[in-house]
Symmetry: C2
Subunit: 359 residues, 2 copies
DNA sequence: TTGAAAGCGCTAACAA
DNA sequence: TTGTTAGCGCTTTCAA
């Protein structure tokens, strides 16, 4: 009735404030032990809820009380020192510079780590090798459980030497010619899913505006596009594929070339391109999806969900990338494809594709 | 020469690889000392580059060599345990859910912390109070130097009790009725700057589409709008201000109401609204900026920089918020307004405002 | 059921 | 110029 781990006063009128431990000396296990009149070992057992240790109910009560009165907090450093390991996972990122959504990698990693009792130590290298080395050193010195090495766009990467001193997983990147575990988006499936949104509705002349910039995404999505056509029995026509710079301006500028192709649908390399294309179409009085169906990529919420009409797209699974990275690192799962794990890019259908094919 | 606790052979032909310390026992200060034939204290002095300590040049050389051979890394836990403090700064965020750019708070905090030799411990609470409490506990147990408590949009917040056990700074939020240090965007100045982009070009009939959602941003930007009008000698006309839901749909729907107002310019509560408005204008054959000048807010790169024409906007200083939060926490600066520090929202002019006023 | 004591890897007096 | 020693706060045998 009296105690419990409750976070309120335990008895009497004025007890120690549980908060405000800021000033003075930090409360240690020994302080608690003294107050409770037991040894510090006993307190340790109680704090850590050791199942086997049989502690007298009265002792336990007194210790609990002392803990509350003193506002005791275990010192994680001391614990870690003893155990030789920490509950840290390091995440080094090469910069969140351009793309807003890559922060979701951090988010996913953090959530998953937390779920398993780990905390994220984050470092942003902004692509600077020296910073990167320092960051990894620092993590190593903190005896992290392992390191997630992530990039803001899907690409090949070199593994910094120091990474080999601990467990690590590459996230959103991969190291060709090595067997380093890596988690990357499944670009091929993504390209296929995007195209299938269109083939499923009966489209047969489907253009693909690819990026001018070389990247796994560029190759993968094209491959996926071809796969989708193939399985729909549509012959691949290279004339329907052309490149543009992967942003709004690129999409806008691509409109003329696209319209010459006489297609009923188009798959754009990304949402930004699609956004530019929309704009060009509106100015020409061409209606989406009635005159032309459009599918994007990235599923960038702020764009795709709010264009008029809302844009069908395929998402990059950044959150999942981070989360899966942590699971790989902790050895919780060894998914198909290990050490090269591909995460599905989910398709999201919106009104930019009608249920019927334009005439 | 023969033994050593090292986990590899010590002599023989093959020298120690400097990397790959993964397996076996970690190398300690003592291992280095033994190999170098000195005491661990000496090694400590050398590792920490103590200026005063005079170490023999030959000793120093031997120790250096031993360090390299063994691939020694100091154990941060042990260091921290001795010193009683860590080089951690905690950052608890209430979720990066909707807004992509709020991740910049983490980014800014991380960079600034790093600059001063600190590392960020991040936790995402997703608005869950229990998680929040756990997160703060965990940080306290790691003896963080202090905690940054941040929200993904500018708002009033309640201070979790446990925060009082350490130094803390509120970031992007504030606690009314307390003197808790807080760093927030200067919404009033932001609204003023946005409006001034227009008044400077000679616009005198300027509409303001505010948000329907109550928030410091809503009140502050309106106030800034009024200030800008006042200093341009333009009487405030309440008819020129109305509300809309702060997204693309809201902006799109606001077009008709706006056009009835017979204004030459409009300041939108945010870029998403402006994006929707653009769309509505294009469909009516109204040209930006020739028929109507438009200014947004948030300076959301992916939108503002790539609309057609590119949108003038005012940025939310998320990165700076995080960085300034760290500086406040570490006591590096005590800016004007402390404990309530307002960070400037920078105006970015683009082509959505012409150099001359529409007829 | 509880206590005593050793030690995790490092730093900081104080000696030598 | 360098070594010895005593902890930092905690966990963990091993005794009692």
């Amino acid at each position: 009735m009296t105690s419990g781990k409750s976070s309120r006063d335990t008895e009497a009128d004025s007890v120690q404030p549980l908060t405000a431990r800021k000033p003075g000396h930090p409360v240690t296990l020994r302080d608690v032990a003294e107050l409770a009149g037991v040894s510090s070992a006993t307190v340790s057992l109680i704090v850590n809820k050791k199942k086997d240790a049989r502690i007298g109910v009265e002792t336990r009560r007194r210790v609990r009380e002392a803990i509350n009165q003193l506002g005791y907090r275990p010192n994680a450093m001391a614990k870690n020192l003893v155990s030789g390991t920490s509950r840290f996972i390091g995440l080094v990122a090469d910069g969140v510079a351009t793309t807003p959504f890559a922060g979701q990698i951090i988010h996913g990693a953090q959530d998953e780590a937390w779920k398993h009792g780990f905390v994220l130590l984050v470092a942003n290298t902004e692509g600077d090798d020296a910073v990167e080395e320092d960051a990894i050193s620092m993590m190593l010195e903190h005896k992290v459980r392992g390191i997630l090495y992530s990039t803001w766009f899907h690409r090949a990467a070199e593994i910094p030497a120091a990474l080999n001193e601990t467990d690590f997983v590459l996230v959103n990147c991969f190291a060709p010619g090595t067997d380093a575990p890596a988690v990357v988006p499944n670009e091929v499936q993504g390209g296929r899913s995007a195209t299938e949104i269109l083939t499923r509705k009966g489209h047969r002349r489907i253009a693909f505006i690819n990026a001018t910039t070389p990247a796994p995404a560029r190759d993968g999505r094209l491959q996926g596009y071809q796969q989708a056509l193939a399985s729909a029995g549509i012959p691949f026509d290279p004339h329907l594929v052309f490149d543009a710079y992967p942003d709004q301006e690129g999409g806008y500028a691509a409109a003329d070339k696209l319209l010459d192709l006489n297609v009923t649908a188009v798959f754009c390399y990304n949402d930004r391109m699609a956004m530019g294309l929309y704009d060009a179409l509106v100015r020409r009085g061409i209606s989406v999806p009635d005159d032309l169906a459009v599918v994007g990529f990235d599923n960038q919420e702020v764009i795709a969900a709010h264009l008029r009409p809302p844009l069908s797209s395929v998402g990059l699974p950044h959150y999942e990338l981070g989360a899966a990275g942590v699971r790989l690192l902790l050895g919780i799962e060894k998914p198909e494809g290990y050490p090269m794990v591909k995460i599905e890019c989910p398709a999201v259908e919106r009104d930019s594709v009608a249920s019927t094919v334009p005439a």
